[in-house]
């Protein structure tokens, strides 16, 4: 474990590329790639890695929700994962979808989970081995989780509305243009049917990228403290909700607050702006003209 990772509140949830390279043959480790680019895994991946797609594998196909307990058990079984397997997530886009998948695994209480610092880009830049060979693992017997922990790390719209009315801290991790209401989607991304631009009243803007370095790794803990404690004034025991557009960028910030800084009560509002911005009679704030 490098010094930067050792300094985080929960260093056990982050691994560097050296660690992963040394554990590729470790049968207790399962490497999982999760990307925005749905075919990127097929073009080459870390040897032994399996692919989990956020929409196909983690989302329910007919309800805007995640798979249920049975679905999660089936997914893990398919990839030979047991409750004791150390799953290590990595992916494109500075690990947005890796953090999202990590968060979903936490919904089901799979505690043996880690994220590869720097994700796919860092592994590639370092010239490490990639392969197109897809691994085949014997199906495992993954027991159905007793429950999905929505109440602990996930915020629904009605809870977020109550939180807003109570003046609770909320972090909007989208781009400044999305926060102000100038645009309703990420720069360079398609409009996805949001009727209004703006943010949840009372939310503060802190784009997810502020937690990342140029190479996609997380910033050192002192810098993260300077942003979230120093600038935003968030305390370790504050009840914090993070949101973005559909919950992927806020998974990144949720990971930073909960594991790298050790905040105790952080929830990801995965409905995010695509729900809030369209909800009838739900207030918004705008700072753009």
């Amino acid at each position: 474990m490098n010094d930067k990772i050792a300094a985080y509140a929960h260093p056990e949830v982050l691994v560097d590329t050296d660690w992963l390279a040394a554990h590729l043959e470790d049968p207790s480790v399962r490497v999982i790639e999760s990307n925005e680019d749905i075919l990127l895994y097929d073009t080459g991946h870390i040897p032994g890695a399996v692919h989990i797609d956020w929409r196909r594998d983690l989302n329910d196909a007919t309800i805007r929700d995640y798979v249920d307990e049975d679905g999660f058990a089936v997914l893990c079984s398919r990839h030979g994962i047991t409750p004791d397997t150390n799953v290590v997530f990595y992916g494109d886009k500075s690990n947005w979808w890796a953090c999202y998948a990590f968060w979903v695994f936490q919904l089901f209480g799979h505690d043996q989970a880690r994220v590869l610092d720097g994700g796919r880009a860092k592994w590639e830049v370092e010239g490490r081995t990639m392969t197109r060979e897809k691994p085949a693992y014997a199906p495992s017997d993954y027991p159905r989780p007793a429950r999905r922990r929505d109440d602990e790390i996930r915020a629904f719209q009605d809870q977020t509305l109550a939180h807003m009315r109570a003046g609770g801290p909320m972090v909007d991790v989208r781009s400044p243009g999305e926060f102000s209401g100038e645009i309703t989607h990420m720069p360079e991304y398609p409009q996805e049917g949001v009727l209004r631009g703006g943010h949840i009243p009372g939310a503060v803007s802190c784009p997810w990228a502020r937690a990342a370095q140029e190479d996609g790794t997380f910033k050192p803990v002192e810098q993260l403290r300077g942003i979230y404690q120093g600038e935003l004034g968030l305390g370790e025991d504050d009840d914090i909700i993070a949101y973005c557009r559909i919950g992927e960028r806020s998974s990144h910030t949720w990971f930073v607050l909960k594991y790298l800084l050790g905040y105790n009560r952080v929830r990801n509002y995965d409905g995010s702006w695509t729900e809030w911005g369209n909800m009838v009679r739900t207030p918004i704030e705008r700072t753009a003209g």
């Binding site: 925005e36 680019d37 749905i38 075919l39 990127l40 097929d42 073009t43 797609d53 929409r55 196909r56 197109r132 989607h185 720069p187 360079e188 991304y189 398609p190 409009q191 996805e192």
Partner: protein, 155 residues
């Protein structure tokens, strides 16, 4: 008679015969081949449209040459930024191969309903914004070229 240019029709028929796994493998092969359809430095085009749109994660350049002496047959070259997604790369190579040599007017008439037959219903459902982008850009380039030519002829 097929509503698609013959070369595109062949590609569609090939994809439709494949299993999901084979379909993905062929898409990756096409994505790898996209670089072959980039413009060479000394090529001259009738229209160059290089831009970064909100529908795509990086810059895409469409370069069009139209051979008026040969019945308005088109030749496309397409440049892709490094962050362009794999599916877009694959569609670029497929469409260059499938549409090059087609008459300009016929490009505009190509219906987009072949896309799910190539990439499969699942990928369309999962990434619907990505799969139609390049076709739209190629048609737009042809339309602009024809409009300009029409305006020049009228002027």
């Amino acid at each position: 008679m097929s509503r698609y240019p013959a070369a595109l029709d062949e590609i569609i028929e090939l994809f439709e015969m494949l299993s999901e796994e084979e379909r993905r493998e062929l898409l990756i092969s096409y994505a790898d081949a996209a670089v072959r359809h980039e413009p060479a430095g000394d090529e001259v085009f009738d229209l160059e449209d290089v831009r970064k749109d909100e529908e795509c994660t990086d810059t895409v350049g469409v370069f069009l040459r139209v051979d008026e002496a040969d019945g308005d047959r088109v030749e496309f070259r397409i440049s892709l930024g490094s962050k362009v997604q794999t599916l877009t790369r694959a569609m670029t190579a497929i469409l260059c191969k499938g549409l090059n040599g087609t008459r300009a007017g016929a490009v505009l008439d190509v219906p987009a309903d072949f896309v799910p037959r190539i990439v499969g219903a699942e990928l369309v459902r999962l990434r619907s914004q990505t799969v139609y982008y390049v076709l739209g850009r190629m048609k737009a380039a042809v339309k602009v070229y024809l409009n300009r030519r029409r305006a020049a002829a009228a002027g």
